[in-house]
C-alpha cells in the first residue's frame, strides 16, 4: 500500500515509522490506507453510520496520542484495530443506554447505496449469531485478527475462538450462500 506524505510517495511501513515519530501527515496517510477497513468494522459492529464515524474518530485520536508506544511496527494492524475495538465497545454501551430503548430500529439502519441488498444480507447473517460469535467474525474477517489476537481481546482460549469462528462462518454461509 502506498500513499503520499510530505510530497513523497511512501509505503505503509515507512508511514508507520514516521507516524511513530509523531509525523501528523504520515499518520493521516496511514489512516487513509486503513480507513475503509476501520469504518467497515465499526459499521458492522455498531450498525449505524454516525456511531461508526464517531468510533473511528475516537480511534484516530487515541491511536495518535499513543502512537509512540507502538513498539512493533509490524503489529500496526492489530494495534489500531484493538483501539477501534475498544472505541466501538464504548460506543455500543452508549447505544444501549441512549438509543436501544427509544428506538431499537436505529440499531438496524443499513447504508443507503446500491449495495443495500448485500449489506442487509450480511446484517441478517450476522444477526443469526450470538453477540460473542458476531464479535469473533468481525475481528477475524473484517479486522483480520488471528485467533490468538481475538482470544486475547475477548478473553477466550484461541482454540475456542477457532471453533466458534468456524461454526459461525458455516452458519453465515447458509444465509449468504
Amino acid at each position: 500500500m502506498n500513499d503520499v506524505a510530505g510530497g513523497k510517495i511512501m509505503n505503509g511501513d515507512n508511514l508507520i515509522k514516521m507516524a511513530v515519530q509523531g509525523d501528523k501527515a504520515a499518520f493521516a496517510g496511514l489512516y487513509a490506507l486503513y480507513k475503509d477497513r476501520l469504518y467497515r468494522y465499526a459499521y458492522f459492529k455498531l450498525r449505524n453510520d454516525s456511531d461508526a464515524q464517531d468510533a473511528v474518530a475516537d480511534c484516530i485520536l487515541c491511536a495518535y496520542k499513543n502512537v509512540s508506544s507502538l513498539k512493533n511496527e509490524k503489529a500496526f494492524d492489530a494495534w489500531i484495530f484493538k483501539i477501534l475495538y475498544r472505541s466501538c465497545c464504548t460506543a455500543a454501551k452508549r447505544q444501549i443506554t441512549e438509543k436501544a430503548f427509544e428506538n431499537p430500529d436505529k440499531l438496524k439502519i443499513i447504508p443507503s447505496d446500491e449495495n443495500i441488498f448485500v449489506s442487509a444480507e450480511l446484517c441478517e447473517a450476522l444477526d443469526a449469531l450470538n453477540q460473542t460469535d458476531r464479535e469473533i467474525v468481525l475481528l477475524s474477517v473484517v479486522a483480520g485478527f488471528n485467533s490468538r489476537e481475538t482470544g486475547r481481546l475477548l478473553k477466550m482460549n484461541p482454540n475456542t475462538v477457532r471453533s466458534r469462528l468456524s461454526r459461525s462462518l458455516a452458519k453465515m454461509k447458509v444465509f449468504l450462500g
Binding site: D36, N66, N72, S147, R162
Partner: protein
C-alpha cells in the same frame, strides 16, 4: 473452491460499506491537529521497559567486560525470568470472611421411559433453556482443566516419556500432543477456517525431530458424511501406534438446525506412508471430553434434540434422540438408556459411551442423561458431569441476555457409575457455578466441591465461594457459609482434610477450608499469594505450587509460579515465587490449562511452555529453582506469529511444539537437551 472464510470475507469487502468521502486523510488531520503523542516516559510500563532496557544494556556491557576478564569461563545464558522471594511475614492477611448463608441445593430424580414414543413426548414437552450447550460456551473461556501429578491412565506408561498432566491418578486425559517415545503427534492450530485440526506426526529421532506426515480427520469426515459436513478436532490419544482423534462433526441446515456428532477416529500408524482409519465410532452431540481408565474409553458429548434450535421456534416433529454408530452404521440409543426429569426447562442430553480401549474401541455401553455436560470429572468408579444454566429467576430463554447481563447461575451435577457398565446414580442442583474438574473431588465415597455461589462468571451477582460435602447419593452433608465476596474460585485443590481455593479477589488469597468434619466445613485460614492462580500442583504433602499469571492491571498477566507451605493447613504461607516477564510468557498455555504443564517424575522437575520457548524448573529446599530457559528456534520478535503451546520430554530431550500464526499456519517442532 473458496473456503467459508474467504467467501464471507469477500462478501464483507464487496458489501459497499466503506468510509464516506468526508472520512479521508483530512478527517484524521483535523482530529489530531491540536494533539501531540503522549511521551513514553509518562507511561510507567514503558518507562519500566526503558529502564530495563538500559539496565540490560549496562548488564551486557558488564557481562562483556567480565567475559573479557574471565576468558575461559563459560558465559551465562541471558534469562528473562524474575526470581522473587517473598518472606511470609511480608504477606498481608487477605480480607477473607465466612458468612452465615449456606449453599442451597435441590435433589430431583431422573426418570426412565420404557418406549420411544413416550420419551419423545416427554422431551418435546421440555424447553431449550440454554441449549447452546454444544459444549458450554462460557465454560470454554479460559476454563483450565487444572492438576494432580499423575503417571497416566489406561495405556502402558513409560517413565522415560512424557505423559499428560492428568487430574486424577490413573485417569488419562486426551490432549493436543501425545507421544509414545518414537512418535510425537501434535494437533496444530490452523486458525480454524481452512482446516480445523490437522495432526502433524514427527519422529523424535533422539533429539533431532523430523516431520513425517499429516493426518487430516477433516478430509476423512467429508468422505464419510459428505461435503456439507464440517469437522473440528479437539484432542487426541496415542496408544502405541494407534492414534485416536476426538472431533465434533456437524452440518447446518437452512432451517438453522445443527446436526452434530462426536467422533472418535482411530488411525493405524504402523506404516506412516499408508496411514489408514482403523476405527470409527460416533455418538450424537458435540464432543465434550474423553477419559481413559482401566482399559475403557469414556466418551462424552452434549446433544440437543432440536439441533440447537430454540424449542419455541423449533418444529416439534424434528425432535430426535441421540444416535451412536460405527463407520456408516448408526442407531438410536434405546429409550430405556435415557434418563430425563419430570420437569425441566431444558431438554439437552449428555451422551456417554463406554468403549473397549484394548479392542479397537468396541462399544460396550451407552447412556444419556438430562442436562448437557459442561465439563467432566472422572474417578476410577464414577463419572461426574457438570453443567451450568442461568437461573429461573433471571433467564427468559434469551442466550444473549445470559451472556451479556450475567444472570445468576445454577449448576447440575450428575453422577454415573462406570465400574460395571454405565449406571445413573444421582443428581443434584445447586445455586452457583463450578469452574472445572478440579472443583470436584471424590474422597471416601463423598463428593467435595468448591464453587462460586450465584456467580455467572461475569462477576455481576456474586455472593461468595462455597465448599460443600455430599454423600454418595449427592445429598448435601455440609457447607461453609459464603466465603469472601469474589467471583467463582479460579483454582481449587483438595487434600484429605482441607480444600484450598484461590479466587480473583484483590488480594489474590489462598484460602484453606477445613473438611475434617464433613458436616461442618469451615474457613480455616488464608494467605495472600498476590498473583492470579489458574491451577495448583502438588509438590509433596507440605507444599503446593500455584500456577497462573501475574495480577496485572489488564487481563493479560505473565506466567507466575508461587510456592506455598501448607504443612499447617490453617496457616498456609508463601515460600517463594517466580515470575516471567515480557512477552515470552504472555500467552503461555500453562496459564490456561494444566495439560500444558509437564512433570518428569524421574527428574522430579517441571517443564512449562512459554510463548517463545520453555522454562525448566525444580522445587529444591523450599525454593523454585530455574534450571533452564530456552527460546525456540524460529521465534522472532514479532510475537503475534508464534507460540510454543506444549512441550514433551523423551529420555534426555525436551521437544517444543510450536504453532505459527503466519500465512502458512504450519506447526514447528524444536528440541533441546535437558540441562
Amino acid at each position: 473452491m473458496k473456503n467459508d472464510f474467504d467467501f464471507i470475507k469477500e462478501k464483507f469487502e464487496n458489501s459497499g460499506v466503506a468510509a464516506p468521502e468526508n472520512m479521508g486523510g483530512d478527517f484524521a488531520l483535523d482530529i489530531i491537529s491540536d494533539v501531540e503523542p503522549d511521551n513514553n516516559d509518562k507511561n510507567p510500563r514503558l518507562k519500566l521497559r526503558k529502564i530495563t532496557a538500559i539496565a540490560a544494556s549496562v548488564a551486557v556491557v558488564i557481562a562483556v567486560m567480565t567475559a573479557s576478564v574471565f576468558l575461559f569461563s563459560k558465559p551465562e545464558k541471558s534469562v528473562s525470568v524474575k526470581k522473587e522471594t517473598i518472606q511470609p511475614s511480608s504477606a498481608k492477611p487477605a480480607e477473607v470472611r465466612e458468612g452465615k448463608e449456606k449453599m442451597r441445593t435441590e435433589k430431583f430424580e431422573l426418570n426412565m421411559y420404557s418406549n420411544r414414543d413416550e420419551l419423545i413426548k416427554k422431551l418435546s414437552g421440555l424447553g431449550t433453556k440454554y441449549n447452546f450447550g454444544i459444549g458450554n460456551y462460557d465454560m470454554l473461556y479460559y476454563s483450565p482443566e487444572a492438576p494432580n501429578p499423575s503417571s497416566g491412565g489406561g495405556f502402558e506408561s513409560n517413565p522415560e516419556v512424557s505423559r499428560t498432566y492428568n487430574r486424577t491418578e490413573g485417569i488419562e486425559e486426551p490432549d493436543i500432543v501425545k507421544t509414545n517415545g518414537s512418535l510425537i503427534c501434535f494437533l496444530e492450530s490452523t486458525d480454524g477456517v481452512k482446516s480445523v485440526g490437522r495432526i502433524n506426526i514427527y519422529s523424535s529421532n533422539n533429539g533431532n525431530p523430523k516431520y513425517k506426515t499429516t493426518v487430516e480427520p477433516y478430509d476423512d469426515v467429508k468422505k464419510m458424511r459428505g461435503k456439507n459436513w464440517y469437522c473440528e478436532v479437539y484432542n487426541l490419544y496415542l496408544n502405541n501406534k494407534k492414534l485416536t482423534a476426538f472431533c465434533s462433526v456437524y452440518s447446518v441446515s437452512k432451517e438453522n438446525r445443527v446436526d452434530c456428532y462426536a467422533y472418535a477416529l482411530t488411525y493405524d500408524l504402523n506404516d506412516l506412508s499408508n496411514i489408514h482409519l482403523s476405527g470409527v465410532y460416533f455418538q450424537g452431540g458435540r464432543y465434550i471430553d474423553a477419559r481413559l481408565t482401566g482399559g475403557k474409553l469414556i466418551l462424552i458429548s452434549s446433544f440437543s434434540p432440536y439441533g440447537l434450535v430454540e424449542a419455541s421456534k423449533a418444529d416439534k416433529k424434528t425432535i430426535s434422540l441421540p444416535k451412536i454408530g460405527e463407520y456408516g452404521k448408526e442407531k438410536e440409543i434405546a429409550a430405556e438408556k435415557i434418563r430425563v426429569p419430570n420437569n425441566a426447562a431444558d431438554c439437552s442430553l449428555a451422551v456417554i459411551s463406554e468403549l473397549d480401549a484394548e479392542n479397537g474401541f468396541e462399544p460396550l455401553d451407552c447412556t444419556a442423561v438430562a442436562g448437557y455436560s459442561g465439563f467432566v470429572y472422572c474417578t476410577k468408579s464414577n463419572l461426574y458431569l457438570s453443567a451450568a444454566f442461568a437461573s429461573d429467576e433471571y433467564f427468559s430463554g434469551d442466550s444473549e441476555r445470559y451472556e451479556n447481563e450475567g444472570a445468576s447461575a445454577v449448576s447440575l451435577i450428575t453422577k454415573i457409575s462406570i465400574s460395571n457398565g454405565l449406571k445413573y446414580k444421582a443428581n443434584v442442583k445447586l445455586n452457583g457455578r463450578l469452574l472445572n474438574q478440579f472443583a470436584l473431588d471424590e474422597y471416601k465415597d463423598k463428593l467435595r466441591i468448591a464453587m462460586g455461589g450465584s456467580d455467572s462468571g461475569y462477576g455481576y451477582t456474586s455472593t461468595g465461594n462455597y465448599v460443600c460435602v455430599f454423600d454418595k447419593d449427592l445429598n448435601l452433608l455440609g457447607s461453609t457459609g459464603a466465603i469472601s465476596y469474589s467471583k467463582i474460585p479460579t483454582a481449587v485443590f483438595f487434600t484429605a482434610n482441607t480444600a484450598y481455593l484461590a479466587n480473583n479477589q484483590k488480594e489474590k488469597p489462598l484460602i484453606a477450608v477445613d473438611l475434617s468434619d464433613y458436616e461442618n466445613p469451615r474457613l480455616l485460614g488464608q494467605t495472600e499469594i498476590s498473583e492470579y492462580t489458574t491451577f495448583f500442583v502438588t509438590v509433596d504433602d507440605d507444599r503446593i505450587l500455584s500456577v497462573g499469571k501475574t495480577a496485572f492491571e489488564d487481563t493479560f498477566g505473565y506466567l507466575s509460579l508461587v510456592l506455598s507451605d501448607i504443612s499447617s493447613p490453617g496457616k498456609p504461607k508463601v515460600l517463594d515465587s517466580l515470575k516471567t516477564k515480557y512477552i515470552s510468557a504472555l500467552n503461555s498455555d500453562a496459564k490456561n490449562t494444566q495439560r500444558a504443564l509437564v512433570y518428569n517424575p524421574k527428574r522430579d522437575d517441571y517443564i512449562i511452555p512459554l510463548d517463545n520457548g520453555m522454562i525448566n524448573i525444580k522445587i529444591e529446599n523450599g525454593k523454585i529453582k530455574l534450571i533452564d530457559e530456552y527460546t525456540a528456534k524460529g521465534y522472532s520478535d514479532d510475537y503475534t506469529g508464534f507460540g510454543t503451546v506444549r512441550c514433551v520430554y523423551i529420555d534426555d530431550y525436551i521437544y517444543l511444539l510450536n504453532n505459527t500464526y503466519d500465512d502458512d499456519f504450519q506447526s514447528k517442532i524444536d528440541c533441546v537437551k535437558y540441562k
